[in-house]
């Protein structure tokens, strides 16, 4: 660990996806024999940076140098060749194959065109030993291994490619504390062997234990780089926020204690994704779901909407327990629930079908008599909705796929408003749409709440939660960790509780809910 020339350097890297800027002139320097942590909010550009390093995507501009020579990677295989190997968040193993097969899968040793099984087994044994997992038999099938062992195989697979730079992207998120400790031992040994490790995690305590050096990303730029341990958790959170705050949100009316509770959950649990969640939403209230991506927010919304099987706990509508067995049950009749789903292209819309067909699709039962669609009332309701949401379309009979992203999202919302729902669940409704449409959606949300709807709103954008919500429940690992009310909803509090660290004056609350 001398301060000599860096092993790998990225300079002025920019990347755009369509009109969205993912990285803007980002720099990163990696030295051999060190563990480098990368921090940042959702969408700060961390994943894009790693994908560029690993050859998954190509940068629009900027240079990468390895050992002082400029390099560019056409594919992940090229990056592997150069010694950069990435362990991604999702396990990339094939369950039906053996451990050894998986480890050498990209480049198996061959003899006269056939896979050399002896050599393959030798390579696998070496890699497993190096990963500190020599107790795993190379011939065992991956599907027979528990999750934590699979993660070790994943690391062995990466090591078998003889990396000089090893990238771990949320590689520990699937592991329990005991398994994490084992992985850490391995990582520290690899560091002492002279590897450069790039470590991405949302768990602040892991970074504190492991990292030598930290870089914070925000809005596609690296905003700070500092030796590990030289900044407090709070300072790090400050670095991760620091965005200008735009006033595009409608005013909130403030809490109305007299309003009745419309939607309530008691001890909802599902598989290992939802853990004993209790919450309540009153009429006229916008309740936000915060936290890092993938902490159970989506599952919670799907649970309310009757999609999940094997849910335990109780859901109450207007104080009465109900059993919601399907989206049909959730949206029809007395319950009157609507879900604006996560992915409008696959869950919200039928892209090749017309705007008209999509708009009336969720309300077909209301628009038809004896199963036959009443065209006049359909037209009337559609006209109302197109006017209310200012949907810009060249006509009602063109495919909805021809509309812009923002207008597509408006169609998704409008098709549910045609049912006049009392309970509206929104799953990250502003993702990938322009600022103008976002603002219209915020205003619409407040208007619906003022008209008496109960709204449960998940967003990956903290600004939205602050600007739109009367209360925010922060989820971590499938459980509600904290409830923020009114003025307590600040970016600092949101991030601190999302990372499950205790910020200033913010202990975890007991008895979350009504």
């Amino acid at each position: 660990m001398d301060g000599a020339a860096p092993l790998f350097r990225m300079e002025g890297i920019s990347k755009r996806y369509g009109g969205v800027r993912a990285l803007e002139k980002a720099d990163l320097t990696v030295t051999a024999g060190g563990i480098h942590a990368i921090l940042g909010e959702n969408g700060a550009g961390k994943s894009t940076l790693i994908k560029i390093m690993a050859g998954v995507v190509a940068p629009d501009e900027g240079t990468m140098t390895l050992d002082g020579r400029e390099v560019s990677f056409a594919s992940p295989a090229a990056a592997n060749q150069a010694g950069i190997v990435c362990i991604f968040q999702e396990l990339s193993l094939i369950p039906e194959l053996s451990v050894a097969d998986n480890i050498v899968i990209s480049d198996p040793p061959k003899r006269i065109g056939m896979i050399d099984r002896k050599a393959q087994r030798r390579i696998a044994e070496e890699a497993l030993a190096r990963a500190g997992a020599s107790d795993i038999h190379p011939c065992a099938l991956v599907k027979d291994l528990p999750l934590s062992r699979r993660q070790m195989v994943e690391i062995a697979k990466a090591l078998a490619r003889k990396p000089r730079i090893l990238i771990l992207d949320e590689a520990t998120s699937a592991l329990t504390a005991a398994d994490v400790a084992k992985v850490f031992e391995v990582l520290k040994r690899l560091r002492s062997e002279g590897l450069a490790l790039l470590y991405i995690s949302h768990r602040m305590n892991e970074i504190a234990e492991l990292a030598d050096h930290c870089t914070v990303f925000r809005n596609g730029r690296n905003v700070a780089s500092y030796p590990a341990g030289s900044k407090s958790d709070n300072e790090v959170v400050e670095l991760m926020i620091g965005r200008e705050y735009s006033h595009i949100f409608p005013p909130k009316l403030g809490p109305n204690a007299a309003a009745t509770t419309v939607l309530e959950a008691r001890n909802l649990s599902w598989a290992d994704r939802l853990d004993n969640i209790s919450l309540s939403v009153r009429a006229g209230e916008v309740v936000g779901l915060g936290g890092l991506d993938g902490q159970g927010q989506r599952e919670l919304l799907l649970a309310f909407f009757g999609v999940l099987r094997g849910l335990s706990g109780e859901i109450l509508i207007d104080g009465k327990p109900v059993s919601i067995s399907s989206p049909t049950a959730a949206s029809h009749g007395r319950i009157g629930m609507a879900l604006i789903p996560e992915d409008r292209k696959t869950e919200g819309l039928m892209l090749p079908m017309t705007v008209r067909e999509n708009l009336s699709f969720a309300a077909l039962d209301r628009l038809s008599k004896g199963g036959i669609i009443d065209r006049a009332s359909e037209q009337r309701l559609i006209d109302d909705m197109v006017g209310l949401l200012a949907i810009k379309t060249a006509g009602l009979d063109i495919p909805v796929g021809a509309l812009s992203g923002g207008n597509q999202q408006k169609v998704v919302i409008a098709k549910w408003l045609m049912r006049q729902p009392r309970i509206i669940l929104l799953n990250d409704p502003t993702r990938g749409i322009d600022v103008g449409t976002k603002q219209e959606i915020y205003q619409l949300m407040r208007k619906l709440a003022d008209a008496g709807a109960a709204i449960l709103f998940y967003s990956t954008d903290y600004d939205e939660l602050i600007g739109c919500c009367d209360r925010v429940l922060v989820l971590y690992d499938g459980a509600v960790k904290r409830e923020l009310v009114g003025a307590e909803i600040t970016e600092h509090a949101l991030i601190a509780s999302a990372l499950n660290i205790h910020g200033e004056g913010a202990g975890p609350r007991q008895g979350v809910g009504a």
């Binding site: 049909t328 696959t346 919200g348 067909e357 969720a362």
Partner: protein, 328 residues
């Protein structure tokens, strides 16, 4: 793609062409070309008698393909057509042997047997989540087995009722065979269901994106179940008509209808992946296939050569326009 250019091009076309699917137009064009080619061989291919006769033969396939289209629109397939047809025919004829009540109930009983096969298919696909290709193949085999047990493997001796013969070969309106009228009525009903009812909208929605349809509160399983039941019932009804046409049922009388019914639907521009297609296209596909078969047999092509040409023409036509790019 800018909306203005799209509107500009579409605006210059006559309204019925603008709304028509290019695949449907191509299918009708192919019919005309086929007739012209046939007329080079013999003038009689353009005679009204021949054309009406072909329409009558086509109506059996038309009734069967109507059910197949509904299932294909969902993105599924019904391979139990052969023995649904035979079961419908055999059971209707069998009922006719039980006195005057049997004669009266022959047609509904035959159709109900097909609906039963369709319900088994529908339950398997919608509720048990078995791929339709597997479950319908299995019910086809079971139906075959049951019919072989019932008939002992020979052609059944019962013959069709007078009502069945009248439906298939009689004339209510002079000059127009009843079978054609029946196909027209069933076709009109299907057009109405597909375009004007919430069931029809749901079928297209499920075919396009089942998940989105489910999350929109559509009871997708019920829709799938009904579609398969309708398909089974229409196949069996096709069998009833065929039995009336031939005066009796026969073993493997439905085998000749599996590939043609799928091909007719797909040639008519319905996406084999579901979600897109119009009934007019299926009408065109049915007529096209019937003409092709007829012309090949009139030309006295040996059976083997007929099969080869038939298969090659279908593949060629599918290559021509059956592979529309996915719209996104």
């Amino acid at each position: 793609m800018s909306e203005t250019t799209l509107g500009g091009i579409a605006g210059r076309m006559p309204k019925f062409l603008r709304r028509a699917d290019p695949a449907v137009v191509t299918a009708f064009a192919c019919i005309v070309i086929l007739l012209l080619l046939g007329s080079l061989y013999s003038r009689s291919f353009l005679s009204p008698e021949y054309l009406l006769q072909q329409l009558k033969v086509a109506s059996f396939l038309g009734v069967i393909a109507t059910g197949m289209m509904l299932v294909i629109l969902l993105g599924q397939i019904d391979l139990s057509v052969p023995w649904s047809v035979a079961t419908g025919a055999m059971m209707a004829c069998a009922a006719a042997a039980y006195g005057s009540v049997g004669v009266a109930l022959a047609i509904p009983f035959g159709v109900l047997c097909g609906v039963a096969i369709g319900l088994v298919n529908g339950i398997g696909v919608a509720y048990l989540r078995i791929p339709s290709m597997i479950i319908t193949l299995a019910t086809n085999a079971v139906a075959q087995g049951l019919m072989v047990v019932y008939t002992g493997g020979f052609s059944p001796q019962d013959s069709a009722t007078a009502a069945m013969r009248y439906l298939a070969t009689g004339f209510t309106i002079p000059g127009v065979p009843n079978a054609v009228i029946i196909w027209a009525l069933i076709g009109a009903a299907m057009v109405f269901v597909l375009t004007r009812t919430s069931f029809g909208r749901a079928v297209y929605g499920i075919g396009n994106r089942e998940r989105a349809a489910y999350l929109s509160g559509i009871d997708t399983r019920r829709i799938v179940l009904i579609a398969f039941a309708v398909s089974g019932g229409l196949s069996a009804f096709g069998g009833v008509l065929l039995a009336g046409y031939a005066s009796k049922a026969a073993q493997s009388m439905g085998d000749a209808y599996l590939l043609p019914s799928i091909a007719a639907v797909v040639l008519g521009g319905t996406s084999i992946l579901g979600g897109r297609g119009s009934y007019l296209g299926t009408v065109a596909g049915v007529i096209l296939i019937t003409l092709l078969q007829s012309i090949l047999s009139v030309m006295q092509m040996p059976e083997a050569g007929r099969q080869i040409i038939y298969g090659v023409v279908i593949v060629a036509m599918l290559l021509l326009y059956g592979r529309a790019p996915a719209s996104r």
